[in-house]
Symmetry: C2
Subunit: 135 residues, 2 copies
């Protein structure tokens, strides 16, 4: 019972824009449309109704639930970020790197500015992983 789950319950993937919205929803917890709308990066401006539509679709796709209290609908994420992120990143890795994640890590470290603190953190992470792996 797992293949079946995959077949029957597979949620359609979130689109790029829906991912943006989902991210906000994870960050600020259960939230109304307005909450999400306001917690949105100022540069990327969207119409209120558009945000509303995205949230509706996110729920339709099974990644959130909502309740109407009086006049206001509140959305709660029902899928864990980890899972959604795994899928989205997995897709990218598959298409762009043939499924290998190492090249992506390499790209990120080399091409995108990661500051000293970041580098240190990654180094520590690596050490931990190496310890665990050789156990």
């Amino acid at each position: 019972m797992h293949l079946l789950e995959t077949i029957i319950l597979a949620k359609p993937p979130l689109s790029k824009s829906e991912l943006e919205i989902a991210r906000v929803l994870w960050e600020i917890g259960p939230a109304t449309v307005r909450d999400v709308f306001e917690h949105f990066p100022a540069n990327r401006e969207l119409n209120f109704a558009t945000v509303q539509t995205y949230l509706r679709r996110i729920e339709l796709k099974g990644y959130a639930s909502s309740t109407l209290k009086g006049r206001v609908r509140t959305y709660t994420a029902s899928a864990k970020p980890r899972t959604v992120i795994r899928d989205a990143v997995g897709d990218l890795v598959d298409r762009l790197f043939g499924g290998e994640s190492l090249p992506l890590v390499r790209h990120l470290i080399e091409q995108r500015g990661i500051d000293e603190k970041g580098l240190a953190e990654i180094r520590k992470l690596i050490e931990q992983m190496e310890k665990r792996e050789s156990k």
Copy 2:
């Protein structure tokens, strides 16, 4: 003269499927439709004509050029992988991690299996970067 370049010459981004095809094109160099078609991951099967369409669109968008020799058209990538990858990854990082690449690196290392050799390579990379940064 740079903003203007961006405005006038900005290529429309490649779609996910087009990225897959572009990747093959980079890997095997100038190639005919059939070449690309055959160098395609066996699991992911596509119709020959579909690959053909993608290549046409990739060229239309400005990421490749082609020449017809006799009966056969040969495509050559005209955009560097680094650039295209930067854009695609950048988009994902923006939408899913608010522009921070560190969380993505963290995710990759923790959640996706990277073998010992990979870890070692990353560690070395980090050391290099740290040396360079503190120079």
